[in-house]
Symmetry: C2
Subunit: 134 residues, 2 copies
C-alpha cells in the first residue's frame, strides 16, 4: 500500500516577494534558504524550511503565467499543500480506483528528478493537493 509520509511544503502565492519576506523572514524569523527564479513557471520562489516541512512563497514574474492568473482571480494566500508519498504511481492508481479526480494522469518529473502530480481540488474539499515522491 502506498503511504503518505508527511507534509512536504505549503505553498503561498504572493504579490510582492519583498513585502512577504518582511513578514516570514524578518518578523517571524524564518530562515530564507533560497530565493530562486523559475523561468519555466514565470515565477520566483522563496524557500523557508522548518523542521520537517517547508513554506514556499511563490510570486509571478509575468502576467501571463498560471500563477499570475490564480493571483488575479483568488488573491494572495495558500495555494497548495504538498504531501510526501513513498510510491506516487501506486498512490495515483489507488486514487483513480476511488474515483478521485487527478490533474496529472501520470507523475511528472521535476528538473531535480523528484516525481510529482496534482490532485484536483474538486475531490479534496477545495484544496489543491500535490503529491511528491522524494
Amino acid at each position: 500500500m502506498p503511504q503518505i509520509k508527511a507534509i512536504n511544503h505549503v505553498a503561498v502565492v504572493v504579490e510582492d516577494m519583498e513585502k512577504s519576506l518582511a513578514f516570514w523572514r524578518d518578523a517571524l524569523g524564518l530562515t530564507l534558504h533560497e530565493l530562486r527564479d523559475v523561468p519555466a513557471e514565470k515565477s520566483q520562489v522563496a524557500f523557508l524550511p522548518l523542521a520537517g516541512a517547508e513554506i514556499e512563497l511563490v510570486m509571478p514574474t509575468s502576467d501571463d503565467s498560471g500563477i499570475a492568473k490564480y493571483l488575479a482571480k483568488r488573491g494572495q494566500g495558500m495555494h497548495h499543500l504538498c504531501l510526501e508519498v513513498d510510491d506516487i504511481a501506486g498512490m495515483m492508481m489507488q486514487l483513480r480506483s476511488k474515483n478521485i479526480r487527478l490533474i496529472n494522469e501520470e507523475p511528472r518529473t521535476a528538473a531535480d528528478g523528484k516525481r510529482y502530480a496534482f490532485i484536483h481540488p474538486e475531490s479534496t474539499g477545495g484544496v489543491l493537493v500535490e503529491l511528491y515522491q522524494v
Copy 2:
C-alpha cells in the same frame, strides 16, 4: 529570541465531513485520529496526523458560526496555517515591534491549556497564521 519550530497543522474548511473524509482518509489513506464536535466554535473537527504535522478538517455545524460565514464567503479550502513557537508572548512582542497586525493582542488559552494567537492575513501575504505554544 522566540523561535518558530515547525508547522503544527494545516486547517481546511469543508462543507461535508463525510465527503471530505472519503478523500483524506479513504482514498489517501490518512489515519483519522479523532472526530470531535467543538460546540464553542459550532463546528466539527477531524484530526489526521502525519509525521510532524497534522491536517485538520473543520466543518461548521451551525449557519451562524464564524467558520460558516467564512465558508459562505470563500468556499472550501485551506483556512489557516498553524506554526509552533517556543515563546508565544515573546514572538507577539517581536511581531508588534515589526508592525505586524495581530488578530489577538494577547495569547489566548485553549481548553487543553495550549496558548495560541492569530496573525492577520493583511500582514502575511494573505495567509491566516496561527501561533501555537505547545
